[in-house]
């Protein structure tokens, strides 16, 4: 059994408990703070899955900014929830159906860490990983690698197929960083996605899906503009020095 498994189990159990507590709390302030705790726990779960960028975002946005904004909302709407009249049938049904659909969707996904997952076998994914992973200084070593590989191929034909990185790594390679061989990035710009940076997530977001990220930024900008237009101060003059704090 994976040694991380008990930790994951504990965290996920806590997530469920906090989730239920968030819904059941009548005090909206308590609810908001529990949501923050929920996000922090989820960030830990993502960390256990080595999804650092997701964990980072969850901690910064979910536990940080969202909590502050929800607290800001609480100042406007008050702290106590109106007493409800039992569960809402239709809402419960929709929630259960959505949950069931999501769970059904996960059955089609590859197992966590599966080496045969599409992201590892798909041509684009493979090229991506080959371009980024373990290359802390891709610029400095790119040329050397090419030469080294060719030399190695010439000399090592007789020695069956032992793992190249293992035999040649420590001495000549750059500090034994795990490099994937048969590197598609080496055929210059043929099939090159122009993303020679170590963080795969940033590479995908900023280069492969650059348009996507651009329009996401535009969406955030539009939201900001709408905010200014909808919630601008109508009455107060621009120069406000009220004593209220």
């Amino acid at each position: 059994m994976d040694s991380v498994f008990p930790v994951d189990l504990l965290l996920l159990a806590l997530v469920v408990v906090i989730g239920v507590a968030t819904i059941r709390a009548r005090n909206l302030l308590a609810s908001t703070l529990l949501l923050g705790v929920y996000s922090l726990l989820m960030a830990l779960v993502w960390t256990n899955m080595f999804a650092m960028d997701v964990a980072f975002t969850e901690a910064a946005v979910g536990a940080g900014i969202s909590t502050v904004l929800l607290l800001g909302t609480l100042i406007v709407v008050g702290r106590e929830e109106r007493p409800s009249r039992g569960p809402h049938g239709a809402a419960l049904l929709v929630t259960i159906l959505t949950g069931a659909a999501l769970l059904y969707g996960t059955t089609d996904m590859p197992a966590f860490g599966d080496p045969n997952a599409p992201v590892h076998t798909d041509a684009v994914g493979r090229k991506y990983i080959a371009q980024e992973v373990g290359k802390v200084h891709p610029v400095a070593h790119h040329h050397d690698d090419t030469h080294h590989d060719e030399a190695h191929h010439d000399g090592a034909d007789h020695s069956a197929d032992d793992h190249e990185p293992d035999t040649s790594a420590p001495a000549e390679h750059h500090g034994g960083s795990s490099e994937i061989h048969g590197d598609p990035a080496q055929d210059a710009h043929h099939g090159d996605y122009g993303t020679h940076v170590p963080n795969l997530v940033t590479a995908v977001l900023a280069a492969y899906r650059g348009y996507d990220t651009m329009f996401e930024t535009a969406v955030i900008f539009t939201a900001g503009v709408c905010l200014i237009v909808l919630l601008r101060d109508r009455r107060s003059p621009p120069k406000e020095t009220e004593a209220a704090a």
Partner: protein, 145 residues
């Protein structure tokens, strides 16, 4: 909260580090975890903490509203500007290798790619930070009425 000592002292200790960390995340997005969005949120959180402790007016004396609004637009323009630079250089839109300014050796090209990503992420950082600050600003102003 201005007359409470503990939040004020803690905020004074935290805010510089939050700002530095925000800039670090923004500039190292292509090397480690993080990127424009997270960096923007961290920077905004620093400013929001300041206005929580010292009041909105005090923050806006240092970071005026109109500059926040301009930053919001500038971030998007920076992103699109990098894309259009690629077009003007005769490459595809958002082709970062055109930032190598004519150099063709792989080192320059890869440097240009990292540079393009950093520029683009900086744009995202600025827009996200400005929008988050505006969001808090509007909420706080609405709550006060």
């Amino acid at each position: 909260m201005r007359d409470q000592v503990v939040p004020r002292v803690i905020a004074r200790m935290l805010i510089p580090y939050m700002l530095v960390y925000g800039f670090y995340v923004a500039s190292h997005g292509e090397l480690g975890p993080g990127g424009g969005f997270q960096a923007g949120v961290i920077l905004a959180a620093a400013l929001i903490l300041h206005s929580l402790v010292h009041g909105l007016e005090e923050t806006q004396r240092g970071v005026p509203r109109r500059w926040v609004d301009r930053t919001m637009a500038f971030g998007v323009l920076l992103y699109i500007g990098v894309g259009i630079h690629g077009l003007l250089a005769g490459n595809a839109f958002l082709d970062y290798s055109s930032l190598a300014l004519g150099a063709t050796d792989p080192e320059s090209i890869h440097g240009a790619e990292a540079m393009g990503m950093t520029l683009v992420e900086t744009g995202v950082t600025l827009t996200v930070a400005a929008v988050m600050v505006t969001l808090f600003d509007k909420f706080a102003t609405a709550a006060r009425r």
